[in-house]
Assembly symmetry: D2
Homo-oligomer: 141 residues x 4
Amino acid sequence: MTRASGDAFSVAVRVYYEDTDAAGVVYYANYLRFMERARSDWLRAQLAGPHELAASDKVLFAVRSVALKFLMPARLDDFLTITAEPTSIRGASLTFYQACWRGKEIMCCGEIDLVCVDAQTFAPRRLPEAIARVLAKTSDL
Amino acid sequence: MTRASGDAFSVAVRVYYEDTDAAGVVYYANYLRFMERARSDWLRAQLAGPHELAASDKVLFAVRSVALKFLMPARLDDFLTITAEPTSIRGASLTFYQACWRGKEIMCCGEIDLVCVDAQTFAPRRLPEAIARVLAKTSDL
Amino acid sequence: MTRASGDAFSVAVRVYYEDTDAAGVVYYANYLRFMERARSDWLRAQLAGPHELAASDKVLFAVRSVALKFLMPARLDDFLTITAEPTSIRGASLTFYQACWRGKEIMCCGEIDLVCVDAQTFAPRRLPEAIARVLAKTSDL
Amino acid sequence: MTRASGDAFSVAVRVYYEDTDAAGVVYYANYLRFMERARSDWLRAQLAGPHELAASDKVLFAVRSVALKFLMPARLDDFLTITAEPTSIRGASLTFYQACWRGKEIMCCGEIDLVCVDAQTFAPRRLPEAIARVLAKTSDL
């Protein structure tokens, strides 16, 4: 796993009660919710939101694998920064390195592999040309 | 609000970390998740699961209103009983009285109003005949 | 239920996949998550975040009842505005009128009653003086 | 990743609307919720529930890493089996291989690493003797 560069795309996330558990920290599955927010907003910034993409191109990005490390627990009221940095695009596949920061401390990080699939059948589909072009250009992969 | 009768339909729910928050108790919105489990299983026991209903009759039950009281906090590892008792069926509408119990203590209770809607447009649709018949018979309303 | 005034406190909420369900709309319990975000940020704007309040004053606000109407379904990618307007403060109790808007359309609205409780025992506790003063002043109740 | 043996500990999970998203399938983060249910019930079957463990031994199991593959999407009403099989115990660390099955089809699988930590400080703590003994005996590691 490599570190995201300083200028990785990011979103801000406030931790509310809904995100925490009885151990007093952010529940581990919720970092995946935070990371999906960053990926969705990254996609929206490049091209279109998930809903528009499903409507216009009949595709969506399904998660194929996650490999995450949980290093420190975030807590109620924390103000986090979630990065999303595409590190590889190949055929139908798209890989992100993502991390969750609290100031200069890293809470959680790792790689998420997605695959472009037909929105109905979930069969893999090559990235639509327009999408691939935008992705290739914006991320310099 | 009236109490559910002793023989109301119910499901058992274990409280896991996912259901709790940093206050050490079940997060308030999660009682609505528990209550939906009971309504879904009640429907499945009478007729068919939500997915089957959407596929065969092109309808689903949308929640129109909730009026709930939160009386005591449930906690991690608690073993709860969630009841679902239909109290009124009229046209497209279906009302449930639901409660969440821990042994003989009541955690949360109230009324949930649902309306039968077209699964695509969310326009109200009269309950399909077969469904209305089953509901009327099984619940003696 | 009365409508919030035009200048009610509000937060913006984007709808992500995490918030939706297989019916293609925001899952009903998730409006309660959105509403808690607005209440938390309102409290933070007036005084302090929930975590700070639990640490300094040993109190938290527990939800005692909700009465909500669901009028229209919000969908993936929608950009919502969630209002939080205190309508009554009395002893340990605090009532909010809250609504969820998409532009000028209202998705969901209603009243949420909270009670100030001891953060450990959940026994009702009169609002700490400093809090009551800020609440009374800022909300003109 | 190795497959769980046929007699791995498992729990049954029904898929409700709460678990699905607008793509019509189980939202990826929710498999982590399902897997935590299996681990919690496994621990409860061996020794004690998470709450009891936090109260008596002042420890909890924090997730340190997850490496999961998502192979097929589960859908509304599906009835799933979630396995939890400890594959390694060492010092404060405990590794599980977990999988999510729908009949003979595997939806999602992978490894979850946990570490025993102090319930207050989250500092790693050697597994309490009684726990280590039970774990070693029951899992033949």
